[in-house]
């Protein structure tokens, strides 16, 4: 059966600034809410507007019944327009798109690392892990400023172990998530004995630093990447980034972040050679 999927036309239910500069937007779209898996994303656009012309990719932060939630930071023109939307305004949503995170077996320890608004990409995964894992899940969460840290008390109440780092030092440890990883030896002892699945999302500098520290026996690291993209479903080829060629690891070949990713294992990425932007 082809041709039966549509970009959903939906209406905003709520759109509020939960911490300075960071917004949580909700809309109802039962099919998207039912289908989306942790780490997948949507392409969102404002239907009548031609500026910006292109949709923007956003991770699905949460879903509840027919409700889909998107967490985003107001950084440019696209997110600026999004931040101005009110309840009842219409929105076009294409998705769910991308591969999403591979979900670990219930007995496998999971370490989740998020930098800044990267928390949006791992939040649905955290909810899944808290529900299904028989061993504790740990989140290392960092941001430039304490004001960017979003409240996660409900996850803590469900048993999530949270370690926070901020570069201004006003919340948690002063420094970055990578530093947190080095200064929290307990992480390696509890739960991480035999094997650990690590899931990472954040800015490129953070990914690079974190992946280098996670490169040790028994840890498999999955990285959710970000790239400038026009379409999100494989046709524009604008989001291509270099990855190690499986047949010839010395060489790189371009793959699409949208349909081949956005989640890749850390060993697929040529960390020395690639730049996200």
């Amino acid at each position: 059966m082809t041709g039966n999927r549509r970009a959903a036309l939906t209406a905003i239910v709520s759109n509020r600034e939960i911490v300075p500069g960071t917004f949580l937007m909700a809309f109802e779209e039962p099919r998207l809410a039912a289908e989306v898996r942790p780490g997948q994303f949507l392409m969102l656009s404002i239907p009548a507007a031609h500026d910006p012309l292109l949709p923007r990719p956003f991770a699905v932060f949460n879903r509840e019944g027919p409700r889909v939630e998107i967490l985003y930071r107001r950084v440019g023109k696209g997110t600026g327009r999004l931040a101005g939307l009110k309840r009842g305004d219409s929105l076009r949503a294409l998705g769910p798109l991308g591969n999403g995170f591979p979900l670990p077996a219930p007995s496998v320890a999971s370490l989740v690392l998020a930098g800044g608004v990267g928390i949006a990409s791992v939040h649905l995964l955290l909810l899944h892990l808290l529900k299904h894992q028989s061993v504790p899940t740990t989140l290392l969460y960092g941001a430039r400023s304490h004001q960017e840290i979003i409240p996660l008390e409900s996850l803590e109440a469900q048993g999530l172990r949270i370690h926070i780092a901020t570069e201004d030092g006003l919340r948690g440890v002063k420094g970055t998530v990578a530093a947190l990883l080095s200064t929290t030896p307990a992480l390696w002892e509890d739960g991480a004995a035999a094997s650990t699945e690590a899931f990472v999302c954040g800015p490129m500098a953070m990914l690079r630093a974190v992946v280098a520290r996670l490169n040790r026996p028994g840890i498999r690291t999955h990285v959710s990447l970000e790239s400038r993209m026009a379409c999100g479903y494989g046709v524009c080829q604008g989001c291509a980034m270099p990855f190690k060629d499986k047949e010839n690891p010395e060489r790189v070949r371009y793959r699409k972040v949208c349909t081949d990713g956005p989640v890749f294992t850390a060993d697929e990425i040529p960390w020395g050679k690639t730049e996200a932007s």
């Binding site: 082809t2 292109l54 949709p55 400038r228």
Partner: protein, 311 residues
């Protein structure tokens, strides 16, 4: 009310509707399948195929600009043989008119593509991308030198019975001359226009937004230029013209038809909506219904221009 007739004849083909995909904006058509029944299209124009696979340009490859986007994908494609072996059998399952966009760096490249692909079942015609540099002629694009363009078309013409549609580059001094040259070489139709060369700079880092510095501009920003070029070319040549450049709506498409295009292609709009072609078709039908016009063919070249007012 009688049913609106959306069919148009084009270069020996009979198209269900005048709306087709623009090369490079819908891959090989397979990514559209979840959203679109390909048989509803006037034609599917797949992304440019070269003899050997091309891996494309390094990132960043795209940048949105006011009313448009710059791209420098670098004609990434899987190559002729992989297209024949892996893609074509899947496309044959969908009853759609298939135009294969071909690109080469020498006349021999184009000839190999036409020879190999002409013998394949399921290919209805070729759209020849002449925006690549000609390596034998110091890297000047085939589509930017009139004599080179005419020679290429005349060289390819006897090699295939299938329609040869030439996709012209707007990055030339005289688009009308290029259109005439393509016709003189034996083209069955023209596609106007390919992207317009442009660039964009990040003032904070002082770096160009694209890794290749310069890219091709598409989207609504180029629509008036595309429309003007279609109108001028249509006055010169007898062969049909496919209009492309920034079409988002049915009204946009109607502008091109009125200016003299026999069909239109939808490009950048696919990035906003995978079913953009269907939206445009519905928009054209709505326009026809509103104006009591029974066949879309009646719009082709039906622009009302007072001869004394022409610039």
């Amino acid at each position: 009310m009688t049913k609106i007739d959306m069919s148009v004849p084009l270069a020996g083909l009979s198209l269900k509707t005048p709306v087709m995909t623009a090369s490079g904006t819908c891959g090989y058509g397979l990514d559209l399948l979840p959203y679109l029944d390909l048989s509803r299209l006037g034609a599917l124009v797949v992304k440019g195929i070269s003899v050997e696979p091309r891996q494309g340009n390094p990132p960043p490859r795209i940048m949105e600009t006011c009313g448009g986007m710059l791209n420098a994908i670098g004609l990434e494609n899987i190559g002729m043989e992989a297209f024949v072996a892996e893609v074509l059998p899947r496309l044959r399952e969908h009853r759609t008119v298939l135009l294969v966009n071909i690109l080469g760096e020498s006349e021999e490249d184009y000839a190999r593509l036409v020879d190999r692909l002409s013998e394949q079942e399921g290919i209805d015609g070729f759209e020849v991308n002449v925006s690549c540099p000609n390596v034998r002629r110091g890297g000047i694009a085939f589509g930017s030198d009139p004599a080179t363009l005419e020679h290429l078309v005349a060289f390819l013409r006897p090699r295939t019975e299938k329609p040869l549609i030439i996709k012209l580059s707007p990055n030339v001094t005289d688009i009308v001359d290029m259109a005439g040259r393509a016709e003189a070489g034996g083209a069955d139709g023209l596609t106007l226009i390919n992207t317009i060369r442009g660039m964009s700079v990040d003032v904070e880092s002082r770096r160009p937004h694209l890794a290749t510095v310069v890219g091709g501009l598409s989207g609504p920003a180029i629509k008036p230029i595309a429309l003007r070029m279609v109108w001028e070319a249509a006055a010169r040549v007898q062969i049909p013209i496919i209009g492309v450049g920034g079409i988002l709506s049915g009204e946009d498409a109607v502008e091109f038809l009125l200016a003299g295009a026999s069909a239109v292609q939808i490009g950048t709009a696919h990035f906003r909506n995978p079913a953009a072609c269907i939206e445009v078709m519905a928009g054209i039908e709505g326009y026809l219904a509103r104006h009591g016009i029974q066949a879309v063919r009646e719009l082709i070249g039906a622009i009302r221009v007072d001869p004394s007012r022409e610039a």
